[in-house]
Symmetry: C2
Amino acid sequence: MKWQDLAQQPCSVARTLAVIGDRWTLMILRDLFLGANRFEHFQQSLGIPRTTLSERLRLLEREGVVRKLPYQEKPTRYKYRLTAKGVDLYPVLITLVQWGDKYYAGEAGPPVVHHHKRCGHDFSAVLTCSECNGAISPFETEPRSGADYPGLLEQRANIKA
Amino acid sequence: MKWQDLAQQPCSVARTLAVIGDRWTLMILRDLFLGANRFEHFQQSLGIPRTTLSERLRLLEREGVVRKLPYQEKPTRYKYRLTAKGVDLYPVLITLVQWGDKYYAGEAGPPVVHHHKRCGHDFSAVLTCSECNGAISPFETEPRSGADYPGLLEQRANIKA
DNA sequence: ATACATTAATCTATTTAATGGACTTAGTAT
DNA sequence: ATACTAAGTCCATTAAATAGATTAATGTAT
């Protein structure tokens, strides 16, 4: 099965990965969250091949994750800015960072720390429940089929331990 | 620049993506969190080429994200189980799901909802600050260079708006 | 004027990775 | 004996990634 076909599945992970589930794309998003916004910035910061960068930016723009904005005339040149939809990927990037910090930081500690300007402390992000505000542990949650997808999980449930 | 070289960078995003930053790998992790654990499960559930699946599982095992456990003798056959390190990827998967739910669920609503057994409600996950417990907005945070990486961000800071 | 510099790409040839299908191995069931 | 299962591996084909050169539209320095 080809990759693209997976994106047609009724699965929010698959659909999300069809847009951003690529190493370079996620690195571009990292740079965007750190303030980079121009083609040359991404290219130099990441060493990404120009063709690949061009193709990825086009996809992100088509999907409304970034928007091209002119920053000068004659010749008109564009920078890339995260849209609201793009900014909504912040939790994905933060959770990726934290896993890397925990398992791959080594002796030197995390290369980047995250500061919460509101409270004035360096923080780590904690997943909490929208309903009870308690911290979420994967052992206390379970996936359930959505209203319009009866039996979706049951299909996978005939899985032996 | 090749992919692998990026993983050498002092960046927790890059290092994390070197392990799990691949579409198939993240889909395999999705299946693991839904309870799948055998080679044939992943292959049939995802339609992934067997060579690719084999290679990805080997990498996940090598990195300690999953562990191979025998589930029968004669012939000995193995299933895959998330390690503690693997379970720690739960926040990544949940945030990916939620972004997909928000932007790609369509009319029918999310295909899967997440239930918090502890409080008895379907929930969405909210990122909160470990220090003040407030919800985290990307507009109220800033990245700072880690103690042993002075100037790391400043290198990227000569970026014009 | 001419040459050089910038920026954002694109074009092309080469290298690398993904894909699909058949095959293997060790055992069980008919 | 034959068929079947599970977890892979092997191999030929196809697609994607990569590196390097080139382009286009300007502006700046000599």
